[in-house]
Symmetry: C2
């Protein structure tokens, strides 16, 4: 790593959104640093073995895709520093000062692109992580539903997404769909629950309440799910279910807690921004990817976000005082 | 081509935005038709020999990129019909009826994604098309500026983009930049023109007024520009200029004229839409890519648009009456 610690732009998070932003800022010859916290760029997409819905790649693994992006951005001169969890961003005399968990070192920059991403909330069941790696446990029906044409999947959850996406999986792909939820009532809107029940018979949806998942048992070779153990919360009876895949709909957690001092967050922790420019309410700070409010949470939309954010730098460096973000002014009277 | 003429969704335009939308709608098992007017999918990107700013591809040709996308969407079952210039879209009893220049055939659909793109306004100079194919004539500094590090380019134009992007090219990449404009005064904002003059000396920008381009003369092998002929409008004297590249900044023309009956267009012909959802003001009609108002006009953002538009279908088919688009209601009192 070079000893330079001041950059034109620092990008926080080296998933697809951050890497796409770096591609554009580095190609525009802005000195660019990507700070990454996990020891390896890529973010969530590294956990995906088969990507078939990124335009241009008929099929690619998450690891390979990230290798391409990494080579692409470093070829243009962006630096990536790993194992740097950002703990604090402060403003000091027109610059941003960025502190990480390493403590002994701070970085300064003129502009910040936030791309820390979001994580799917995991249930931490035995077998969950292993079967996620093998693409047999998923947290996103849009991403992975198409892999389960004429298969049997188990869906877990009780909110709007759980109910909606169970219907989506059952009506568009699956031969059979079993759905469990730990309570007798769904948290989802009534109209969605009615739709679920209406679709149940024709599309072979078996709704089991109140049930919790206990364990996901891999096949001998570790490539498939052998069965899933689920438990009736009232009787404590455990059943074994033969399924091809498991969808866990337990919500998402944006990685933004450490940002609350710098920026307003919405009630779920997402970062509000102008969807046309990716500008946040803080001049000089953009956001890209899954931690953005209203993000579409897809690989192609995360990279698009990153590109848009990066393209804003040029105008900003010309006139930093011209920052105007409609949503902030509307909702907060321009207060921040 | 199958004889089916009714589809869940018809996508108009088979450039990157339309193809990305088709990838998602077809993968969601909606019957999907792409209508393409030029005889070949791909749109403008087909004219690009080297793409190095699409996240995931370190270097790819436009033709090869489109081949990948085409294979990807047809594998999921989308149909592409070429040589179909759409002339009219009307609504009829909850469906859309789409007429093309072929006349004898109409298509019907429940939902429409508009992705007709925009074209760069060309000057139709001798040599322009040939040198565009060889990536020596460009219409987009963000796209192609990085190819001209330490080179000499000629820029042509007098509006904001021309002046801004000339400064961008000169300060970030080029060893020398010659700029011509056919009038003595720029149309661009004063502050930009001042910036141009301020940067001229340090960054070796030669502004020549009033000049027009006459011809772009290729090298013997047709791979490079040998020289460009430019003419002083007042003296009629023709000069030869040795340059490595030419940037023409003459604006863009969205391919939307035929849409005026269906949809409101903005003053430049772009289609207003909610940037979060890509919904237009007409229920059941989305827009994606370079013809969208406020589009970022990059490959990665066009595909992102397409994905977002396609993801809206699910909610729409559940409840077509729930269409709500903020910009339309705000600007037009919900009138359309």
């Amino acid at each position: 790593m070079s000893s330079q610690t001041h950059y034109d732009v620092i990008i926080i998070g080296a998933g697809p959104a951050g890497l796409a932003a770096a591609l554009y800022t580095a190609r525009d010859r802005y000195s660019t640093l990507l700070l990454e916290k996990n020891g390896l760029p890529g973010g969530q997409i590294m956990l995906t073995e088969h990507i078939e819905n990124y335009p241009g790649f008929e099929k690619v693994g998450g690891f390979e895709f990230v290798e391409h992006m990494k080579a692409q951005v470093t070829n243009f001169g962006a630096q990536i520093v790993t194992n740097q969890a950002v703990t604090k961003i402060t403003r000091d005399d027109g610059k941003f000062v960025i502190e990480t968990n390493h403590g002994e070192k701070t970085f300064t920059t003129q502009a910040v692109i936030l791309a820390p991403g979001s994580d799917y909330r995991q249930l931490n069941l035995p077998g969950e992580a292993q079967m996620r790696q093998a693409t047999r446990v998923s947290y996103c029906a849009t991403c992975d539903g198409a892999f389960y044409k004429d298969k049997h999947v188990l869906t877990i959850g009780g909110g709007n997404t759980a109910v909606e996406d169970t219907v989506y999986l059952a009506t568009r792909f699956c031969q059979k769909t079993t759905m469990i939820h730990r309570r007798r009532e769904f948290r989802a809107q009534k109209v969605l629950v009615e739709e679920l029940h209406a679709a149940a018979k024709e599309h072979n949806i078996d709704v089991k309440l109140p049930y919790v998942p206990v364990e996901i048992v891999p096949s001998a070779d570790g490539q498939e799910i052998d069965h899933v153990k689920i438990k009736n919360v009232e009787t404590q009876a455990v059943e074994e279910l033969k399924v091809d895949g498991v969808f866990i709909f337990a919500g998402m957690v944006p990685n933004t807690k450490w940002l609350a001092e710098l920026l307003p967050l919405d009630e779920h922790g997402y970062i509000p921004a102008d969807p046309v420019t990716m500008k946040t309410c803080t001049p000089g700070v953009w956001v890209a990817g899954d931690c953005r409010q209203h993000a579409a949470m897809q690989l192609a939309t995360a990279t698009g976000d990153g590109v848009i954010a990066a393209m804003g730098l040029r105008d900003y460096f010309r006139d930093p005082s011209a920052w105007s973000v409609q949503p902030c002014e509307e909702e907060n009277g321009g207060g921040y």
